[in-house]
């Protein structure tokens, strides 16, 4: 695994898991319509954490209903469905309300993709400092490691989240910007 800080890229020579393959399948569809960034637990797993997960969380930039409908239809054509509703207008209204909607392979609720629009400024920031992860000749976009650590340690805080943060810290010890984590921590603590 190589982390090129300057280019903001991580290159993995890992054998992709079935979860990685599914993530690539899903993101290859949505990136035709909108920018996305993966957040939360899957990042630690992609980077080697030894645990499973039932969902992969991602932010998508705001898109209008027409564009969303096209994306949704494409997802359906490719074998995904939404766990929250079938009507695209209803699904879009959930997103507009700031709620997350979940997509999975039709008839298989896990693992699923939890998709939401970023609401707060700090969430929108995930699109500014993202990282590209190269895996199996393809790319997955993830939020910065510092953002991951800060959210896991100071916002989510469950045992699992703290362990995810520790995994990333141990893995990239010398390359992590702890000052950035502290800045994010202050923002997180101010919005709670």
């Amino acid at each position: 695994m190589e982390y090129n800080l300057k280019n903001r890229e991580i290159t993995l020579h890992r054998i992709p898991s079935e979860l990685d393959e599914l993530v690539l399948r899903f993101t290859s569809i949505i990136e035709r319509y909108v920018k996305y960034t993966i957040i939360s637990g899957y990042i630690s797993i992609l980077l080697g954490r030894a645990r499973a997960t039932e969902d992969v969380d991602l932010f998508i930039e705001f898109i209008n209903f027409e564009k969303f409908k096209e994306m949704y239809n494409n997802l359906k054509e490719e074998g995904f469905w939404c766990l929250n509703a079938e009507d695209p207008r209803e699904i879009f209204s959930f997103l507009e309300e700031g709620l997350a909607v979940r997509f999975s392979i039709e008839g298989k609720p896990i693992p699923n993709f939890e998709v939401k629009f970023p609401k707060r400024e700090i969430d929108k920031g995930t699109f500014e400092d993202f990282l590209k992860v190269h895996i199996g000749g393809k790319i997955i976009i993830i939020s910065s490691l510092e953002r991951q650590i800060a959210f896991k340690r100071y916002y989510l805080k469950s045992d699992k989240d703290i362990e995810d943060a520790i995994h990333i810290e141990e893995l990239f010890k010398e390359k992590i910007d702890y000052e950035k984590i502290n800045k994010l921590r202050r923002v997180i603590e101010s919005i709670k």
Partner: protein, 60 residues
């Protein structure tokens, strides 16, 4: 010393031991650090083969 024996000795020198935790939480954190160190010091192919057993078994 035969080459194979040299290799075994080098592997032994490199070996890092997992410290048992006094509580379940401490033990888990020690393992998370132990595994992260393994990921750092082994090829992606080596660690991902092991990790995929956990992940792929959930999906099947």
């Amino acid at each position: 010393m035969p080459k194979e024996q040299q290799k075994i000795n080098i592997d032994k020198e490199k070996r890092v031991f997992l410290k048992p935790g006094k509580t379940n939480q401490e033990d888990r954190i020690n393992f998370v650090k132990f595994w992260a160190n393994y990921v750092r010091t082994h090829s992606d192919k080596e660690w991902s083969k092991q990790q995929n057993i956990i992940i792929n078994s959930q999906i099947r």
